[in-house]
Structures are given as structure tokens and as C-alpha cells.
């Protein structure tokens, strides 16, 4: 949910399953889920089908008794050439356990929904060939974010940080449309911001950064990169650039970065995050030196 969401006027809690009389079917299923029956089912089914991949998926659900204590479920998914990690969890969900929960949408690394912690590293599920991983493939939600359920983490904080850097052009809101002309921008300047503009807000970088983990207010690599995109764009004037640098220079801004490079390593869009952060540090120092 975004930051801009107001509190509802009427807050009606979802009906509490406990309140529904002796034992509602939902409740019964809530209980059944604890028995780990799922794993066996998947194993049997997959045995019939030849080559399989073994995945271990993190499970947690605050509402379901057996899942309140996090655990790993095993699934054996029939292997197909070209299979990605996302394909595997989708298969497990559709065939074995429909309550397996994760975000996903585009399946082509543009929506940024499905960053998971796969075999100890932040990766996009849809962009990771499962054949390249060591089995069993361990799939967990992104570290350093609160887990909502299974592989779904709370992204609010990430969005907040992204919004903090004023990620929008500061020029007038909407120009007059009559006889409008574009602003000029050199191809070189476009090239300069190219990589930074590719971010898909997947949050992998934030999750991989130790500093961001320790300091919740640290803007984090994604937001700084977003700011970089604007600060380096020549279409905005100098004054605005200074304003942007001022935001970045705050205590929890660029200086927090300890050049750990994890962010750069995990970014599925190959954005040179550390480099961008460092460049901004230098810019900020340059700017400050003027006042000495």
C-alpha cells in the first residue's frame, strides 16, 4: 500500500474465522494445513513425471496456526527446459498447494514484483533459470523486510524511501499544450541517465544492503539511484539539482553507503548502483567545497 493512503472512515475488520460457530470448514482447513500433507502429495505426483526439481519454500501466515511458526515446505516440480524459479513456484501453487503465496505479474523482469531470496541471494524469480541453481533450491522472502505471508514482504517502507527523494520533474506541472515543443537533451546526457532509469522497484538492492538493514532511515540504493536519474538529467536546472543534492546529503543519505556493492551485484537490471552513489558523494563534496 502506498504512503498516500488515508485511514478508512469505517474500519471493518475481516470476519474473524474463530467467530463462526463450532468449526467452520475454513477452520478445519486451517488445521489441516499444519499436517504438512502437502509435501507428500507433491512428491508422489512428481515421481510419476520424470526429472524434477526440488524446491524448499518458506511458509508463514499469521492467521493459519501451523504456519505462524515459519517453516519450509518441500515441493518436487517436474522440470521443463527454460523453467524459471517463478515457473517452479507457480507450478507448485497451481498443482500442489493453492495457498502458496507470492507476488508476480509480468513474467519478464519488468514489473519487479517477484524478487525473492533464492539460495542465499536476492534474485528475480522470473529471471532466474532454475537449472543454474544448486538443488534443493531454497526460496525465501526478501530479507530485511517484514514478511506478510509466505514470500510476500511488506514493501511500504521501500515505497516510502522512493518517494522521499522527490522522484519527479520539478518543472511546471503540465505545460500548455498548444504548439508544444520538446525540451532538448543531448544523446550523451540521455546515455548518462540510461542505466539509472531502468529500475523496476523490485527492492532486491535494499534487501541486500546491510546498512539499509541497520538504519531504517537510510534512503537506500534504489532511492538514491532514482535521485541520481533526476540530478544528472540536464533538463532540470542547476538550482533544482542543488536541491536534490541537499536531500541526498542528509544524515541518512548517501554518506550512509559503505560501498558494500551487494546492491550492485543483485540488481536484476544491472544498474551500477554503487557507482551512482559514489558519484553523488563526489558531487556533494564538490558542492560543499565551494563554501569553504
Amino acid at each position: 500500500m502506498s504512503t498516500q493512503q488515508a485511514e478508512p472512515e469505517t474500519q471493518e475488520a475481516p470476519e474473524d474465522p474463530e467467530m463462526k460457530g463450532a468449526e467452520s470448514p475454513q477452520e478445519r482447513r486451517l488445521k489441516e494445513k499444519d499436517d504438512g500433507m502437502v509435501d507428500e502429495r507433491s512428491e508422489k505426483k512428481a515421481e510419476l513425471e520424470g526429472e524434477t526439481v526440488h524446491i524448499k519454500v518458506f511458509r508463514y501466515d499469521p492467521e493459519v496456526e501451523g504456519k505462524q511458526e515459519p517453516r519450509f515446505d518441500d515441493f518436487h516440480v517436474p522440470f521443463k527446459k527454460g523453467m524459471t524459479v517463478l515457473d517452479a513456484v507457480m507450478y507448485a501453487r497451481d498443482e500442489y498447494d493453492s495457498s502458496l503465496t507470492f507476488r508476480h505479474s509480468c513474467r519478464q523482469a519488468v514489473c519487479g514484483s517477484d524478487a525473492f531470496f533464492v539460495n542465499g541471494r536476492q534474485r528475480l524469480g522470473c529471471k532466474t533459470q532454475i537449472s543454474e541453481l544448486q538443488q534443493p533450491v531454497r526460496i525465501e522472502p526478501l530479507p530485511h523486510q517484514e514478511v506478510v505471508k509466505d514470500l510476500v514482504v511488506d514493501m511500504d517502507h521501500f515505497y516510502d524511501q522512493m518517494h522521499t527523494v522527490e522522484p519527479y520533474f520539478q518543472d511546471e506541472d503540465t505545460p500548455d499544450v498548444s504548439d508544444l515543443e520538446e525540451q532538448r537533451q543531448s544523446p550523451e546526457n540521455r546515455e548518462k541517465i540510461k542505466m539509472s532509469s531502468r529500475c523496476i522497484w523490485c527492492g532486491a538492492c535494499m534487501s541486500s544492503c546491510n546498512i539499509a538493514a541497520g538504519d531504517n532511515e537510510y534512503l537506500g540504493p534504489a532511492a538514491i539511484n532514482k535521485a541520481y536519474k533526476f540530478a544528472m538529467d540536464d533538463r532540470e536546472d542547476e538550482q533544482i539539482k542543488e536541491h536534490r543534492l541537499r536531500i541526498l546529503e542528509q544524515e541518512h543519505g548517501v554518506w550512509r553507503c559503505q560501498t558494500q556493492f551487494s546492491c550492485t551485484e543483485v540488481c536484476p537490471k544491472d544498474i551500477p548502483l554503487t557507482e551512482h552513489i559514489q558519484e553523488l558523494k563526489r558531487e556533494a563534496v564538490k558542492k560543499n567545497l565551494k563554501f569553504w
Binding site: 469505517t10 515457473d87 498548444s178 544523446p187
Partner: protein, 612 residues
């Protein structure tokens, strides 16, 4: 209950644009979207935005190309509105900071695209849609427009007069995916549906998992007709395992298609003796499928697209992203082996019937983007024409919903005296409705006098009951099974090749799916982030939308644009210069036609042979 002037459902290009426009028109806007805005499928668009920007180009040429591309099923007022406004809207994006690719002199670059008489496709690298989406989201953040993200809209709250033209839409009912809470959203001005395409009705699609035609189904159930649903564009080169799109660029650079016997079939089997691989999308897609059907497909499924002969240097220079796509999503190295490709569902030309202002026949209900059909694309969409549609008509819908006067529309909507009833085709099965409740979006017991709040409350109540029933049911079928069956039927029978018999068969299977859906249950007992529940509801929408696609494909017995019928493989201008409209009539779909408008502002578009 939440209350706003304008509620925009969906936060893709169309939804964001509508929200910004409504906000600028002074309305209190909120966006309700099942995905966070930047996750919307607009982000997947690669190619570009058509707009007549340069000197020497002209909006009339753009309109002409679009009309020709549509196979004369586009409505001239819509087509001309698009062509006229696209330049300003594109430049507005530039002023908002969109990083377009640039020429040496600093102006935005444009490139040639299929079916265009002038290189007018404005682009931002190979990720135009990504930049468009993010730039507009930035503007939404800047304006502080309220976004309810990860709220799934289930239904519209509409009055229930017998004639949809008299109905009024007062808001939507949505549930918070994260908590399971169901709430009403009251819209004082209007509801704009911008929910994107219905690609998931097909087994193999370039569309996202979230493209489930929710808006189509909701509007349909509320009484707004769906228009030209049979026109589905199939892209000839998508990766077999995931449906990820391999752009036309590969063939443009000289990539060659081979069948399993190593034949360059586009030539050797005479599908397109002149242009070969570069023939238009539908021709290539049909050729590929013929090869597969005749046993010359690789693994009986796909054909090969080979670019190795282009040499590493050229590939790295121009098609580098293709290498990554093939590697990441198919595990294939395009430098050492050919890439497997097959046709995949790509775009729906049809959608919710609206006029140039984005309004449906139901008062206060708007639609924009891929889910709408102003009829710009007619029988076939030109590459690069969807994104301008989002910004041009998204903006108009937003402004109109906010109360701006945009003038009288020329396009008419809903059932009226200008339509013609379908009488000829015999339907194999009575089309029907899916789902446990049959009342759809229309408040059942309301009577005409119920006030907006009352209607909203009742719709919320219906939605709650429905969810409770799905959750409480303990056993039955799971939606995934039904969805798979539906998708398979659509891909088998309503794909690139359509025969009367096949389409009938699909309708029968769709009916089976619907019956099975009566027995659907949600296995996941939790209210927290229950994607099982969400997908179960989506599946119902898919069934309804799939049926309209199949119905359209059944009645339109001609070959126009992307729609091919075996029985009548010619474009039949005599009988078919008209839109197919399917409307929900108390749960009994009725089919009627509205003539296409070919009279433009300055000229009338005369249907010509569509050959390139």
C-alpha cells in the same frame, strides 16, 4: 466506505493518465489498483508511441495509416482524435521527464514501425512502456493523488434500471489484498476502468498474469456492451515456455524462421513469397501454426527463429536485449542456437464500448486503455498505437469524469435505434453467467429509487457474501483447473485459426467451465494476502470475457484484420463493416451490431485492400 469524486480502477498507462487529468481538472481522485502502479503491464511495452511530431509528417497520415491498419473497422472520430492529440500528449510526457531516445540535435528520436507511412514511433530505448509508466507514476506522486494499491476491485455499484442506458454507476467494491477487508468506494463524479487486457484468457500470451479482463467483465455485468471482442492480435514470436515477447526487430534485422525440417518455410511453403519473415504479424503467425499443425514443428510446438548468421557483432550491437531475453527466460543462447518461438496472444483490439470521451452507455462509467474499445484499432492494431491510446483517451476519460466539457461525442454507445440485431448465427449453447451469484454488478433488489450510498452498501454486502461463500466452501474444484481448461480451449479453438465448428466447441467447453465454476472453492483459509481467492474471482471474469471473444468469433463469418475464419476467408465489406457488440441482458448475452463510422473530419475513408 471511502469517497472521492473520481475513482480510477487500474494504474497502468491509461489509469495514471486519467487520474492526472481528473486531478488537474480539479477533482478529488483516487486510484484503486490490484497491483502497485509501477507493476502494471504497461511497463512491458517495448516498441514506442506513434505520434506525428516531425515536420513532413501529419496527423492525417497517422489517421490514415491507423484506419488502413484497422482493416476499416476503426471509427473515424476516434482514430482522428488519437492522431491529432498524440503529438501534444507525447510532448507532455517529455516535459514530465520521460527519457526518450534522442537525436544529435537533442530532439526526440522517432523510428519506423510496421504499417506506418512515416517513421513516427517515438521511443525510449527498448523500454518505452517502462519509462511511460514510471514517468506518469512520478507525476501521480508529485500531485499527491491517493493510491489504494493492492486493492482488488470486485464489482461496480450500479443502479439496475432495465435499460443500461438509464443506469448510473456510483462506485466500486474492492478488497484489500493484504488484509482481506472489503470496502465500498463511492465515486461522486465517475468511475474510470483502466484494467488492461484480457490476455490470460489464452494459454499462451505475452500479457502479464494480472491481465485477466476484470474491467471487461465488471462493465459487461453492469450492462455496458463489449465491442469487437473477436479481434485478438497474436504475435508470431513469443518464447514458448513463458510467452515473453521477442520483438519484431529480430526479423527486421534479418532473422530467419525455420521449421523442424530446416526449411525456411515462409518462402518454401509459399506463405509470403515477397516479404517472407517480414510479412505482417497475422500472416506469420498463421504460417507458423500451419507448420506445427502439419507436423513440421519442433517438438510439435514451435518453430525456430535463427539470428546466428547475423554475426556476433551485429547482434550485440542491435539485438543485445534479445540475447538476454532468450537466455534468461528460455535458457537459450541466441549466439549458438536458434531460438524457439511460437505465436502468442498479444493484444485485444476490442473491449468495453465507449465514445471519444471514454464514457460507456452507463452513466458515470468510463473506460480507457486496452480494456476499452473507442475503436481506434478496429480489426488490427498497429504496433505503437496502444500507448498513444492510453494517454490520449486516458486523459479524455479523466477530464470528462471530472466534469470537463469535451463536447458531444460522435460515437454512440449502448443499444439504440442505430443498431442491428444478430439473427443469423445459431448459438451452440445458451451463453450464460459464471459465478455463485448471478446478479453481477447490478444491485438486485434496489429498485430505481435507491440512493447511491444504498446501492454501494448493497453491492458491498453481495461481495462480502460471495467471498464468504467461496471461503467457507470446503471442497470442490480449484480455479486453477478451470482456468487451465479455459485457456486451453481458447488456444485450441479461438486462436489464430478459427473455424465455425472449433469456435462452437470452445463455447461448449466454456459452458462446462462455467458449470464447474459453480463448484469452485478457495483452499487457502487465510484472509491475509489470499491470492487463491483473488485468482478465483479473476477466473470467473476470464470465463465471461472468453465467452464474448468466442461469441464474437462465431458470429463474424469473414476474414478481417486479425480475425480469420476458415469458412469465409475474405474481407466481406458488404456485410461486415460493423462492430460486434455483446451485451449482458439479465445474464443472457445479446448480440447486436453498430455500423462503423468511416466519415472523418475532412474525408471519408474508403475501404481499400490491406496490403503492404
Amino acid at each position: 466506505m471511502y469517497e472521492h469524486d473520481v475513482i480510477v480502477v487500474g494504474a497502468g498507462g491509461a489509469g495514471l493518465r486519467a487520474a492526472i487529468a481528473a486531478h488537474e481538472a480539479g477533482a478529488d481522485v483516487a486510484i484503486v489498483s490490484k497491483l502497485h502502479p509501477v507493476r502494471s503491464h504497461t511497463g512491458a511495452a517495448e516498441g514506442g508511441i506513434n505520434a506525428a511530431l516531425q515536420e513532413g509528417d501529419d496527423w492525417e497520415l497517422h489517421a490514415y495509416d491507423t484506419m488502413k491498419g484497422s482493416d476499416y473497422l476503426g471509427d473515424a472520430p476516434a482514430v482522428e482524435t488519437l492522431a491529432k492529440n498524440a503529438p501534444d500528449e507525447t510532448i507532455t510526457l517529455e516535459h514530465w521527464g520521460m527519457p526518450f531516445s534522442r537525436e544529435e540535435d537533442g530532439r526526440v528520436s522517432q523510428r519506423p514501425f510496421g504499417g506506418l507511412s512515416y517513421p513516427r514511433t517515438t521511443y525510449a530505448g527498448a523500454e518505452t512502456g517502462h519509462h511511460l509508466l514510471h514517468t506518469m507514476y512520478e507525476q501521480v506522486v508529485k500531485r499527491g493523488i491517493q493510491v489504494y494499491d493492492e486493492w482488488y476491485v470486485m464489482n461496480l455499484a450500479t443502479t439496475d434500471e432495465p435499460d443500461p442506458n438509464d443506469r448510473e454507476c456510483h462506485g466500486v467494491v474492492a478488497y484489500d489484498v493484504q488484509s482481506g477487508k472489503i470496502e465500498g468506494f463511492k465515486a461522486n463524479g465517475g468511475v474510470v476502468l483502466a484494467t488492461g487486457g484480457p490476455g490470460q484468457a489464452f494459454d499462451h500470451t505475452t500479457n502479464a498474469v494480472s491481465c485477466t479482463g476484470d474491467g471487461h467483465a465488471m462493465a459487461y455485468r453492469a450492462g455496458a456492451p463489449l465491442e469487437d471482442m473477436e479481434f485478438i492480435q497474436f504475435h508470431p514470436t513469443s518464447l514458448p515456455s513463458t510467452g515473453v515477447l521477442i520483438s519484431e526487430g529480430v526479423r527486421g534485422e534479418g532473422g530467419i524462421l525455420y521449421n523442424s525440417e530446416g526449411e525456411r518455410f515462409m518462402f518454401e511453403h509459399g506463405y509470403a513469397n515477397n516479404s517472407g519473415e517480414l510479412a505482417s504479424r497475422d500472416v506469420v503467425a498463421r504460417a507458423e501454426l500451419t507448420e506445427v499443425n502439419e507436423g513440421r514443428g519442433v517438438e510439435d510446438e514451435y518453430v525456430h527463429l535463427d539470428m546466428r548468421h547475423l554475426g556476433e557483432e551485429r547482434i550485440m550491437d542491435r539485438l543485445e536485449n534479445i540475447l538476454h531475453l532468450a537466455e534468461d527466460f528460455e535458457g537459450v543462447d541466441g549466439l549458438v542456437e536458434p531460438m524457439p518461438v511460437k505465436p502468442g496472444q498479444h493484444y485485444a483490439m476490442g473491449g468495453i464500448e465507449v465514445d471519444e470521451n471514454g464514457q460507456t452507455c452507463v452513466n458515470g462509467l468510463y473506460a480507457a486503455g486496452e480494456c476499452a474499445c473507442v475503436s481506434v484499432h478496429g480489426g488490427n492494431r498497429l504496433g505503437g498505437n496502444a500507448l498513444p491510446e492510453l494517454i490520449v483517451f486516458g486523459k479524455r476519460a479523466g477530464r470528462h469524469a471530472a466534469g470537463d466539457d469535451l463536447g458531444e461525442p460522435e460515437i454512440r454507445t449502448g443499444y439504440g435505434d442505430d443498431v442491428e440485431d444478430e439473427t443469423e448465427t445459431e448459438l451452440p449453447v445458451a451463453p450464460g453467467v459464471a459465478g455463485l451469484d448471478t446478479t453481477g454488478g447490478v444491485a438486485a433488489d434496489g429498485g430505481v429509487t435507491a440512493d447511491a450510498e444504498g446501492i454501494l452498501e448493497r453491492t458491498v454486502e453481495t461481495a462480502r457474501q460471495r467471498v464468504d461463500r467461496l471461503m467457507d466452501k470446503d471442497d470442490g474444484v480449484q480455479h486453477a483447473e478451470i482456468r487451465a481448461k479455459l485457456q486451453q480451449a481458447m488456444t485450441d479453438y479461438v486462436n489464430v485459426f478459427r473455424t465455425g465448428e472449433g469456435v462452437r466447441k470452445s463455447l461448449e467447453i466454456i459452458r462446462e467451465c462455467r458449470q464447474e465454476y459453480q463448484d469452485v472453492y478457495v483452499d487457502d483459509p487465510s484472509r491475509t494476502f489470499n491470492t487463491d481467492l483473488q485468482q478465483t474471482i479473476e477466473t470467473r471474469n476470464l470465463i465471461d470475457v472468453a465467452e464474448t471473444i468466442a461469441l464474437g468469433a462465431l458470429v463474424r463469418n469473414e476474414f478481417r484484420g486479425a480475425h480469420w475464419r476458415q469458412e469465409n476467408q475474405i474481407r466481406d465489406d458488404e456485410n461486415w463493416l460493423k462492430h460486434t457488440l455483446i451485451s449482458w441482458d439479465d445474464g443472457e448475452p445479446s448480440i447486436f451490431y453498430r455500423p462503423v463510422i468511416l466519415e472523418g473530419e475532412n474525408k471519408t475513408y474508403e475501404p481499400k485492400e490491406r496490403s503492404y
